[in-house]
């Protein structure tokens, strides 16, 4: 790597020889528009929007995947560049189903923003749309007429999620994206993580919209509508409404949901705490019969991860904790324990969950995961994006709503429950309670802060009352794959592993608002740790509602009732191609 000197738009720029023109220009404060490009993920120079003029070259040069060279003279806004850039976007628009007024992306669409910036007012080419068939019941929906073939979905699925659901389909002028092998999406190994959606520049990929289902339930006088809010939802719900993170407090979200007409507003933090009680007890139980189990034990709270391991490593499924996800536990508890203490007929309950996640939509619909005996334990799941649309359609002045409290008792969650929404959080919460269960005393709530961080794979070793515990935490399925392969080769040994499918965990979930801000996951992470630090209860086992739930109903962790409602047999449903047992 050497330093090179070049000129961009008449400005002398110094850059490293391994920098692209795009990076060097950006460093010099010169913005070059991009469309297919995404940093560290996609620099395939497909859209030809980032083309620039290089002196001495007849043709234009893609800034995103060409390196700077000594003496290069670059122009980013010459007439030739402007014409090409505009025309290329015009070409993309000729094959894009322009429906901006009735599109889920609305103003949050990279193509629309670029077309506006380029001052495109007319498309001089014939409209040519393709309409590929798609199962509209699947939580992930692809609209081929909106795809601009940037291939980010292919890249994120293959490289970040090691799943490879998407591939190039067809050839030449008909090249587009399709499910690998020409399969139907519901017959693929899609983890339904939704990362392809949050990386899509348009609405070619989106979640199935279930808001009508919710509105219908709210309008039904016979229904008792309850809603649970996942930990990470509180970090991002205000983004689509244009609220600052300070304005978008969780208490304002509670108020907003109350305005929408929900009868009871609860917190998934509660069942995150319950998960710790069940999963933590299960872990200690497995530890005491170490030889009866294959190791490590994997967390089971992330349905994207559960789908992944079932699809790719079916032989390792028994290493998953049998605990349901917090959403699943909440669904079961709401229509059993809560219905009984509140005196409500569980069949009348409409149970909504708001999640940062598409896989949770998929999870809620699996019949084998509903155990309360009153239809689906969770009747509907909305992503944070759908919540945003629901709130907008209510025309609330969300920023000026009063701050209101969750309903009791399922609205009480500990700080340990809050951090379930970020990578490492489940592990930290579990260790806080495991320490108590093992020693009978509480540790410093921040004693296990070593497991925090954004890195793909993190390892830590702790001494738990004389037992050495080796744990690992990963986020992103490609990292999970690396870890599993290392375990399979015998190169890594752990006792307990937390895996979240999405990068950074649920704060980076595929159901979160789509943001071009590269630091957004970091900002959301900070909010959760802030909430944990401020919470009066830092330990799941000290949540009074949890204690009451066991006293009044579940008796004890791993009791028969707990097993029936809060645990599951991961073999009770199958991924496509998975053998049923």
């Amino acid at each position: 790597m050497v330093e090179v000197n070049l000129t961009i738009n008449g400005i002398a720029v110094k850059a490293n020889s391994n920098m692209t023109i795009l990076v060097a220009a950006h460093k010099a404060g010169i913005n070059i528009p991009t469309l297919c490009f995404e940093r560290n993920l996609n620099n395939i120079a497909a859209c030809r929007v980032c083309v620039v003029e290089v002196e001495g070259a007849d043709q234009l040069v893609a800034a995103c995947n060409n390196l700077v060279q000594e003496g290069m003279v670059v122009r980013t806004n010459s007439p030739k560049v402007r014409r090409a850039r505009k025309l290329n976007v015009e070409l993309l628009l000729s094959q894009h189903d322009v429906q901006c007024t009735n599109c889920v992306r609305g103003a949050n669409c990279e193509l629309r923003k670029l077309a506006t910036d380029l001052n495109i007012t007319d498309i001089r080419f014939k409209k040519e749309l393709t309409h590929d068939e798609w199962n509209q019941d699947f939580p992930l929906i692809r609209d081929s007429a909106k795809c601009i073939k940037c291939l980010r979905c292919v890249q994120v699925c293959e490289n970040v999620q090691a799943t490879g659901v998407w591939d190039l389909k067809n050839r030449a002028t008909r090249s587009t994206v399709g499910v690998i092998g020409g399969r139907a999406i519901d017959n693929s190994l899609c983890a339904v993580c939704g990362q392809c959606i949050t990386h899509c520049p348009t609405a070619a990929l989106r979640e199935r919209d279930d808001t009508d289902l919710v509105l219908a339930a709210l309008a039904d006088p016979d229904k008792v509508c309850i809603v649970q809010i996942a930990p990470s939802v509180r970090t991002a719900w205000g983004e689509p409404l244009g609220l600052t993170h300070e304005q978008a407090s969780v208490k304002r979200l509670v108020a907003a949901l109350r305005r929408l007409g929900f009868d009871y507003i609860f917190d998934t933090d509660f069942t995150a705490d319950l998960t710790i009680m069940e999963e933590g007890s299960e872990f200690l139980e497995r530890l005491s019969h170490r030889e009866d189990y294959s190791w490590p034990m994997f967390t089971s709270c992330c349905p994207g991860w559960v789908r992944y391991i079932k699809g790719h490593y079916p032989e390792m499924v028994d290493r998953l904790s049998t605990a349901k996800s917090p959403q699943g536990m909440f669904g079961a508890v709401a229509k059993s324990y809560y219905a009984s203490i509140a005196g409500i007929d569980p069949k009348k309950i409409f149970s909504l969950s708001i999640m940062p996640c598409l896989a949770k939509k998929q999870e809620a619909a699996i019949p084998a995961l509903s155990d309360a005996g009153a239809g689906q334990d969770v009747d509907a799941v909305l992503t944070v994006r759908e919540l945003g649309r629901l709130l907008r359609s209510e025309f609330l002045d969300a920023a000026n709503l009063p701050e209101e409290d969750f309903d009791k008792p399922l609205g009480i969650g500990s700080g340990a429950g809050e951090i379930f929404g970020v990578t490492g959080g489940v592990m930290e919460a579990a260790l806080r309670s495991a320490y108590y269960l093992a020693t009978g005393t509480n540790c410093d709530p921040d004693a296990f802060a070593a497991v925090r961080g954004p890195e793909g794979v993190r390892e830590a070793t702790f001494d738990l009352a004389g037992t050495k515990l080796k744990v690992a935490i990963t986020n992103g399925l490609a990292n999970a794959k690396k870890l599993i392969e290392a375990v399979k080769r015998g190169e890594a040994e752990y006792d307990f592993v937390e895996i979240m499918a999405c990068p950074s965990g649920c704060v980076g979930g595929g159901g979160q608002p789509i943001s071009e801000d590269a630091t957004i996951r970091e900002q959301r992470t900070k909010i959760l740790y802030g909430l944990d630090a401020k919470n009066n209860i830092r330990f799941s086992h000290e949540n009074p509602s949890i204690l009451a739930c066991y006293d009044d109903y579940m008796i004890a962790p791993l009791s028969e009732k707990a097993h029936h409602l809060l645990h599951t047999d991961h073999h009770s449903w199958q991924m496509p191609g998975e053998a049923s047992s």
Partner: protein
């Protein structure tokens, strides 16, 4: 009323091409070049539709089937592509194409239809896949055309980039990751990669083989002879990452090793731990050597059983030394055996040791016996003294047994590369004249154009359209005359022109030696007797080289395919190594990650290809000295820089265009 002369169309004017016509012809020329650069894995239906449309553009418009039919055929093909077709549409396409074929007035129409019908027949599966699944059914798109066109899938853009910066050792190491016969292929590969080279769309394909030879000639490590080219020594090699692993873990910086210039340090995939598994490789030709090399890298213990005195197979006993100097062949073989593969020469499996005995003492067997048996003319007098097969001569030459043809008239029968080889060899053995007799036309010869030109340039006579009838000998039984029947070229059958006797009398060609070079056969009797499946004397195996019903026995190379090329034998050797490794219960992979110079943007430029030249026979230091001159350093750098870097530009950008392991 007077009319100015200029407005009167002359009754007859001198033929002159209009500007428009000239432009069209130049576009045809470019189109021709574009089509010559084959595009692998394009969609057959998409291609058919484009072709039909192009044909329709050439229609004069007079006749219904061509004017309307081709247009409607194009529409129907587009329905298939747009996912709007039913299976019945394919029947209609068939019916329409047949109609155009049967009822067109001229070749514009019926030849278009013939091609369309051929495509429909040849790609029926893909047509149906489009209809049933609304997508093309062709397998993976190959982003890097030269690599996709190479049977051994060598990372060509990678090693050309290394050559461009003078890292010749690294370039050869990178070639050897996929093709261990880097030196040999630099000299004699038929270079199918060049046919796919995208540079051909601009001006000419890259001289890929010539560059590989240049790197092999100028490498410092890897048992190379000392290089005295100063301009090359000035260029430095840099660091790289090398390892062979059982897994897909990313290499870390710890794996980086520095490179020296001694042979021990020559970069190679890391050798796996010794497994103790013994593999018998029958045949020391290119397929056998390749398999043995990779098996040794995978930690196994291969032993080559070679029937002849030396290793090399057809490389030694088929290709003359003036094309493939023995010194070069030997240094390649020495390098490959440096990883532990052993060889037993002068052992013939079947007579000296049986297959049963081998099966008893080895964990697996790879049969790569090549195609070394000769084919007979089956005409009267063929058993006369002085009638030899090409195989006999080349085999003797391989062991340095040089017959003296001084003053002899040599007639070579055949039109393949081997015929050219023996003709040129005969000249070098001081034959007074050499005549190549071929029953079809020179253009129909299967020999490469360069080989034919070189034979002629060195003084061989070509006598085409002559079919041998009988061989006459004198009283002592010595060949005297080859009697031939003049032929006329005619009907094209299966894409090849066929000949028939012309109504003229026989011709007599006086000869002291007749050399029969009309193809080779596999001597598979011993293996057939053992029960291995044979088809026309060739062994039968699956694409994975396994033989159905015979666990642990694998086969590949020319004994399966019939006479082919070095690079196809390498491909078979690789497939065999992987299959045998799996069969033995392992999952080794060959991995070598060399840091490749970044692809830098270059303005589009036209730059013609630098070809390698051959020395005139009279200028050679000795008859059997190497005839081909390598590229000059300046030529090599320019040629390597002509590479369009399809590993980075084009679809290569999507998945990196680089495969560091197989």
């Amino acid at each position: 009323m007077s009319v100015s002369l200029s407005e009167v169309k002359p009754r007859l004017s001198v033929y002159e091409k209009s500007d428009a016509q000239q432009t069209i012809e130049s576009i045809y020329d470019q189109l021709n070049r574009r089509l010559t650069v084959s595009s692998l894995a394009s969609c057959p239906v998409e291609f058919s539709a484009a072709f039909v449309n192009l044909c329709a553009a050439q229609s004069c418009g007079k006749c219904t089937p061509c004017r309307v039919g081709l247009r409607q055929l194009y529409n129907l093909l587009n329905d298939v592509l747009d996912g709007k077709a039913q299976l019945a549409t394919l029947d209609l396409i068939q019916e329409l194409a047949e109609d155009i074929f049967y009822s067109s007035d001229c070749a514009i129409g019926y030849e278009s239809a013939a091609m369309a019908l051929k495509a429909l027949r040849g790609f029926r599966d893909d047509y149906e896949h489009h209809v049933l699944h609304r997508t093309c059914g062709m397998s993976e798109i190959s982003p890097v055309p030269c690599r996709a066109g190479c049977p051994a899938e060598v990372d060509i853009p990678g090693y050309l980039a290394l050559i461009a910066v003078g890292r010749y050792d690294d370039a050869i190491a990178l070639v050897r990751k996929d093709n261990p016969l880097a030196i040999v292929c630099g000299l004699v590969c038929e270079h199918p990669c060049e046919m796919y080279c995208r540079r051909g769309k601009v001006d000419d394909p890259i001289n890929i083989r010539g560059l590989k030879r240049f790197a092999a000639d100028h490498m410092q490590g890897g048992m190379s002879f000392t290089n005295d080219c100063e301009s090359c020594q000035a260029l430095e090699a840099t660091s790289r990452i090398a390892e062979l692993t059982d897994d897909t873990l990313e290499p870390t910086s710890d794996n980086k090793i520095a490179q020296g210039t001694s042979s021990q340090d020559f970069l190679a995939p890391k050798q796996a731990d010794f497994t103790g598994k013994r593999v018998a490789v029958i045949g020391g030709g290119p397929a056998g050597l390749t398999a043995a090399y990779y098996l040794s890298l995978m930690g196994h213990d291969p032993i080559i059983y070679e029937q002849r005195a030396q290793l090399g197979g057809m490389l030694r006993y088929g290709i003359p030394s003036y094309r493939l100097p023995r010194k070069e062949l030997d240094r390649e073989i020495d390098y490959l055996l440096g990883f532990g593969a052993k060889a037993k020469c002068n052992v013939s499996v079947g007579s000296d040791i049986t297959l049963d005995e081998l099966r008893a003492s080895y964990d697996a067997i790879f049969i790569a016996i090549g195609a070394h048996a000769d084919k007979k003319l089956n005409i009267d007098g063929e058993d006369a003294k002085g009638v030899y097969s090409a195989v006999q001569l080349l085999r003797a030459m391989g062991d340095d047994e040089l017959p003296d043809y001084s003053g002899k008239r040599v007639v070579v029968v055949g039109g393949g590369n081997v015929a050219m080889d023996v003709a040129r060899t005969a000249l070098r053995l001081h034959a007074s004249n050499v005549t190549i007799v071929y029953r079809r036309r020179v253009v129909d010869m299967t020999a490469q154009q360069e080989e034919i030109h070189a034979a002629v340039a060195e003084g061989c006579n070509l006598l085409d359209l002559r079919a041998p009838v009988r061989i006459e000998s004198d009283a002592s039984g010595q060949v005297k005359t080859l009697v031939v029947q003049p032929q006329i070229i005619g009907e094209v059958v299966g894409g090849r022109a066929s000949q028939r006797a012309v109504a003229a009398g026989e011709e007599r060609i006086d000869a002291d030696i007749v050399m029969v070079a009309i193809g080779q056969d596999t001597d598979s009797a011993a293996f057939g007797d053992y029960g291995l499946p044979l088809r026309r004397n060739m062994l039968v195996s699956g694409a994975d080289t396994a033989i159905d019903g015979f666990k642990g026995i694998f086969t590949g190379g020319e004994c399966v395919t019939g006479p082919a090329t070095v690079i196809r034998a390498v491909s078979a050797g690789k497939a065999a190594a992987v299959s045998i490794d799996r069969y033995l219960g392992f999952k080794h992979s060959i991995k070598l990650d060399i840091d490749i110079p970044d692809a830098l943007f270059k303005a589009r430029m036209y730059c013609a290809r630098s070809n390698t030249e051959e020395l005139d026979l009279r200028d050679l230091p000795s008859e059997f000295a190497q005839v081909e001159l390598g590229l000059l350093p300046e030529e090599a750098v320019q040629e390597a820089r002509r590479c369009l870097r399809c590993d980075h530009f084009g679809l290569g950008a999507l998945r990196g265009g680089r495969y560091t392991q197989w």
